[in-house]
Symmetry: C2
Subunit: 550 residues, 2 copies
Amino acid sequence: MNDRELGCAGGQFMDRGRMNQNGVVQPLLTDLYQITMAYAYWKSDKTDDTAVFDLFFRNNPFHGEFTIFAGLEECLKFLDSFHYSQSDIEYLKQTLPEGIEHEFFEYLGNLTARDVTLYAIDEGTVAFPRVPIIKIEGPLIIVQLLETTLLTLVNYASLMATNAARYRMVAGKHVKLLEFGLRRAQGPDGGLSASKYSYTGGFDGTSNVLAGKLFNIPVKGTHAHAYITSFSSIGELKTRLIKHKQTGIMEDLLEHAIKHRGLLSHLLDVSTEESSEGELAAMVSYAIAFPDGFMALVDTSGLLNFSAVALALNDLGYHALGIRIDSGDLAYLSCLARETFEKVAERFKVPWFNKLTIVASNDINEDTILSLNEQGHKIDCFGIGTHLVTCQRQPALGCVYKLVEINGQPRIKLSQDVEKVTMPGNKNAYRLYSADGHALIDLLQKVSEPPPAVGQKVLCRHPFQESKRAYVIPSHVESLYKVYWKAGKICQQLPTLEQVREKVQISLKTLRNDHKRTLNPTPYKVAVSDNLYNFIHDLWLQNAPIGELS
Amino acid sequence: MNDRELGCAGGQFMDRGRMNQNGVVQPLLTDLYQITMAYAYWKSDKTDDTAVFDLFFRNNPFHGEFTIFAGLEECLKFLDSFHYSQSDIEYLKQTLPEGIEHEFFEYLGNLTARDVTLYAIDEGTVAFPRVPIIKIEGPLIIVQLLETTLLTLVNYASLMATNAARYRMVAGKHVKLLEFGLRRAQGPDGGLSASKYSYTGGFDGTSNVLAGKLFNIPVKGTHAHAYITSFSSIGELKTRLIKHKQTGIMEDLLEHAIKHRGLLSHLLDVSTEESSEGELAAMVSYAIAFPDGFMALVDTSGLLNFSAVALALNDLGYHALGIRIDSGDLAYLSCLARETFEKVAERFKVPWFNKLTIVASNDINEDTILSLNEQGHKIDCFGIGTHLVTCQRQPALGCVYKLVEINGQPRIKLSQDVEKVTMPGNKNAYRLYSADGHALIDLLQKVSEPPPAVGQKVLCRHPFQESKRAYVIPSHVESLYKVYWKAGKICQQLPTLEQVREKVQISLKTLRNDHKRTLNPTPYKVAVSDNLYNFIHDLWLQNAPIGELS
């Protein structure tokens, strides 16, 4: 059987789903080399070897100095369901080279994650380069087989949550943020993950209905421009009647709107001829459908029609919600809209008009919001799509998964590039806090060391620069890892999505502002204990070959 | 019920999958505003309105001048399965505002795409800005409801296929390209779509096992660095024996390797002390597992160990496959490796050593390949991950879905930005070819116009610039649209993924090289007929309000 034939063998599996029936990813969602390695380990009689792997990233995304860890729950569900189905085994038999012993496939077929122990930082916590966010121990073959899937589940989730948290920071607490990215997301599930993890990171809702259904996220939306263009004149309006909210009497909403339009035209100094009749018809019809949820897409001229319809609704006992602006100069238009609403509120004695929501949604990114903040704007809510879900500024978080210990022996990966040298051995991670509650430093130690103690001086060392050292006296010490999976079971009460979302904001609050600012943030320090420092450097010297210059 | 309560109502649906049992996306994978618009249309008595929407993009991605259209099959499967389940309807009842008539939910529950007609360009064809790749006709409400999902299915698929096709162009025909991006993809399904559509665009395989199984794509892979570091000495090698391929006698592979290592050390002028024993042990064990598929990850010093093990395999009747380089200067290292293999081939009289495969895989993008081509390299195969699957240079294709006709009446969307003005009406698209088989221009016409005829002069006009006109005498005229979905059925024999992949290369060949070059490619022309030009501009003038300067 040649490679080509091998590659083509999978057709019979085409109709099966990508996920199992619980929406959990399948163990075949991995790189082939994990399975070829599993075979080579098996063949080398390494089934009893045990290993420790660290899952970590080397750099924070988006030129920032923090990362939000997300995706843990999906990792745990993956461990819980980890099992190759008979159909998976059949596919692997056809895909791997001939001559592989059937005992290996039996071995694969019986594998579960029961002997694996997974330690992790809490989902929603701020995390930093080089501090493993997940540490996983267990049989070498199994923990190796988990690599790609865990990376896939953590990388995008954390990137997305971090991106969302950054948008939340620049937008401020009082502005609503909605995720509108489904159509530009990387595939259907990319869209769902984007909705879920932007909510985690601090967004208030999504336009994605399935995400709302599956993850219990508030869903929001108004109408598209097509709705406006589907009407070209008032004559097309088949229904104009709406029940007065209080009296229950049917009234002609269009008539009310036209009356107000005339008055508004003077007040706002906009000729009724400048605003389209089709638009008026569309807005009237939309208001009849959603009299208490009337939110309309408007351009500049649309303000006249919107205000007319909103006042008409007011006549009949309803309150409109607001407008969405999707083009043009958002700072100028939002100020114009607010000014218009204030004029109308005063002239028509409808104070709630002042409070109409202004949503903006045209190709917005972090820089747009910063620039709008600088210019001054009156936007209450941003709808953010493409740049949020594709993480335009950095479309991937580079999480890696590195072997640090095997059968109790440390392993170090050396590299010309010091940044790529791994921190060997089984480690614990602590976060040390100052008296005012701010996180000071993350400290990695060997598991054999006692944890740093409150009020005691701790020597914190840069992992690779000998002269960079500092004493820290923590007022509070947080042990970062919890055992999340052991003996075949999830062993923590998992937080709800809502709780993870709160955790993000709480965790961000522990960071000093200079670590969080957009421009040139201060790097947060990650250190190793003196003991671990010496351990790393001894091992490094033992393992580094002495080159010959020639 | 307030918004908050509405948003939280979905918890009971959590356990349901994201896709239906056939892996087809569900109709709730859409923006909420599609459903609120559906209700407003229904409430406005527009259930009998019919509409035509165009799905198109405005700019080619990656500073290029072409796009590969992909995702059509998934769109058709989506239409085929389009149906709101009872659980969807329940969720919508809880999510939409109170007071919506139960008749509307009944109407939604009975909706299918049976009355929709979908025209499209063939999947795998090169496509250009403004020429709709999909045109869809049918009941306004239904075609509006399809918008987001169709965009989601086409946007990333086409972006990915285009990206892959560009990598294929810069790499040349004779280099193999493998997609290695799963761990950095945007979620599990982002990874699967990336594998599928990079294969469409011209890649030769993927590391993603599930993609191999589901889509019948060749899967490839060797081992990770962890495999090497899992061995630290020869003593750890529990198995050294392998059957001689011809004689069937068990022999000690390590012994053979150590013998060759000594000889090679002189030939290659590398001291055996410079190369790690653990690495040798790892390679021997991997070679025992895959004697005919031995492909090893090496750094510079690894060449000695690799060559020793490959020669040992040769002694026993096996041929190694080659090496993967994942760090350092890829141009230099690949040349060094090839030179090494040539020396070994000559000295040890093993001519196939010349042909060992060199795979390179470290953070490669289009520019890296161009630069490697310039420097000169000996790489046979690139493994490409992050930059391929995240489409780093442009992480989203901006496909849009615009209403162009309603009840037989054209609709135009005006904008300050001429680029955003839509081309109204129901149109056909033709591609005109020169005598030498090259595509000359894409031409849009009103459906009422006769198609351009071979050998006849056709006036082609720039859609918005009055003075830009050209006569074209086509030697061949291709009608770009086929009816792919009508009367509730897929009405074309759908090509296999393999056939779509071939189509991409055939279609790209019809493009002149200057449209395809990396640096400053010539824009391919997209034109409208004189008739359509006048139609657009008359409609524009009718619809554009006359402003007042004040």
